[in-house]
């Protein structure tokens, strides 16, 4: 991160989280610049939720620190939460409170509260105002959480898998809200999601966690630019061993019916051209990978190093 602290909305500084002997996150460091939409990706159990809990000041990391706007999240949680909007993985609230009561409760807590905006959103999401929270559907709970999170006009929005359990229509509505928020207020967003297609369209920066370690932390465009699926016909010389292939930094190489296929993480036109012309590889072709494919290549069963 070249940006200095003032530009960082949040910063994980060598954060390690352990549960007994289980390590949930190991020395994770990354920062999210102000105005950025950062997607933190990982399979279930990769440590996302632990990191988010640290960021929200709900858990104290065993090592390192999570800071928000330059302040330690654990020590200054209550103060920082005034500037944060949170949509938790499993939205929760006192079960007997209705959406209206929850909004009224929240309005007392924040220095600026956009009550009208909350009402509008709830109406748009068709979340009933007088039904206890416990009786709302999963999607409605998420939408209510989002409406409440946006109601405080946050500087930083933390969305922990907000699309989980949402149907297509609700998911679209959520992303539209997010677009509006970004366009209107330039809010910084930290997002985790399993909806990689949605993330791909929204995020400008991606972090990928695997088994508690951060494999990737870079702009989405850069990430996509360096990943390709390379397929080629095999000849006598094993191209895997060739220097040209090594230059492409292959992650996984497998035998396909028509030849060989490799996912490379160090793609460049020049390197590929050298590989295509190198002896041993014939009919080499490079095809782009979606974020989902990159994610699977990194975190799938046989996924490897970045």
């Amino acid at each position: 991160m070249s940006s200095h602290d003032g530009q960082k909305a949040l910063h994980f500084d060598h954060v390690s989280v352990r549960y007994g002997k289980t390590t949930a996150a190991e020395a994770v460091s990354f920062a999210v610049p102000k105005g950025s939409v950062f997607a933190l990706l990982g399979r279930n159990g990769a440590g996302k939720s632990s990191l988010i809990r640290c960021l929200l000041g709900q858990r104290r990391p065993q090592e390192g620190a999570a800071t928000i706007f330059g302040e330690d999240a654990w020590s200054n949680r209550a103060r920082l939460m005034a500037r944060l909007g949170v949509v938790p993985e499993e939205p929760d609230a006192p079960p007997d409170m209705t959406a209206r009561q929850l909004a009224a409760f929240c309005s007392r807590l924040y220095p600026s509260w956009d009550g009208k905006g909350v009402e509008t959103r709830l109406r748009r999401f068709a979340v009933p105002g007088d039904v206890p929270f416990a009786r709302l559907s999963k999607g409605q709970k998420g939408q209510l959480a989002l409406a409440l999170a946006l109601g405080s006009l946050p500087e930083l929005l933390v969305l922990d898998d907000p699309t989980l359990g949402l149907d297509v229509v609700a998911r679209k509505a959520l992303f539209e809200e997010l677009v509006d928020e970004l366009a209107e207020r330039g809010t910084t967003v930290l997002l985790t999601s399993h909806d990689l297609a949605g993330v791909e369209a929204m995020a400008d920066r991606v972090g990928i966690l695997k088994e508690g370690r951060l494999l990737v932390d870079e702009p989405l465009d850069d990430l996509k630019a360096r990943f390709r699926r390379v397929s080629f016909g095999q000849s006598d010389v094993t191209p895997h061993g060739s220097d040209a292939m090594k230059a492409l930094d292959p992650l996984a190489l497998k035998q396909a019916s028509w030849g060989m296929e490799a996912v490379v993480s160090g793609f460049s036109e020049e390197a590929f051209a050298r590989f295509a012309e190198a002896p041993g590889a014939s009919d080499a072709e490079a095809s782009p990978l979606s974020l989902e494919e990159i994610f699977i290549a990194l975190c799938g069963e046989e996924g490897g190093r970045p």
């Binding site: 677009v179 509006d180 970004l182 366009a183 791909e200 369209a201 400008d204 465009d221 630019a225 974020l291």
Partner: protein, 184 residues
């Protein structure tokens, strides 16, 4: 100016492409169900909106960055004349909402286009296709044309179409789009 809003038809929203109609440019496409609810989602003279969005699609999964897809798509639309010079383009927010992408991405594309002289910002009015938007450079134009033709030819071959049949389809499509400013 109220009739200059952009109306979205929720039932036509299939989740991946939003159809817009504006009072001034496109009232209703033949065969569309009637507009039921009217919700203003943006304001301003949006003459370019409909035409552009139908032709501008982005694929977030593509290796090409989204901002570059928008930039190239708009360049192509302007160069081909699908977007007339001087017409307004959708606002950053509107396009981002429509494509469900990060507004910063759209802004980046618009900024690059503005810097390149394709788009022009009129203070307080919005962004417009520049009156003197440069045409596609001949080299790129040729290359784009060739790539498109290759893709189409490959598709036609896969479908087992004869060359004449394929060319006929091109002609028909050409004529269909011609009205919108294509050079017949």
């Amino acid at each position: 100016m109220s009739n200059r809003g952009i109306w979205v038809h929720p039932e036509l929203d299939n989740g991946d492409l939003v159809y817009y109609c504006t009072d001034t440019v496109m009232h209703r496409a033949p065969g569309w169900p009637p507009v039921k609810s009217r919700e203003t989602i943006g304001r301003g003279p949006m003459q370019g909106g409909f035409a552009m969005k139908r032709r501008l699609t982005v694929d977030p999964a593509d290796a090409v960055p989204i901002w570059r897809q928008i930039e190239e798509g708009l360049r192509r639309l302007v160069a081909s004349g699908a977007l007339a010079r001087g017409v307004p383009v959708p606002s950053v927010r509107e396009l981002a909402r429509d494509l469900r992408i990060n507004p910063a991405t759209v802004a980046k594309a618009y900024q690059r286009l503005t810097e390149a002289g394709v788009l022009a910002v009129r203070r307080g009015e919005g962004t417009f296709v520049a009156a003197d938007a440069p045409a596609l450079a001949s080299g790129e134009r040729r290359r784009t044309l060739r790539e498109g033709a290759e893709r189409y030819a490959s598709l036609a071959l896969t479908l087992g179409a004869a060359k004449q049949e394929a060319l006929g389809a091109v002609t028909t499509a050409w004529d269909g789009l011609g009205e919108k400013g294509g050079r017949s």
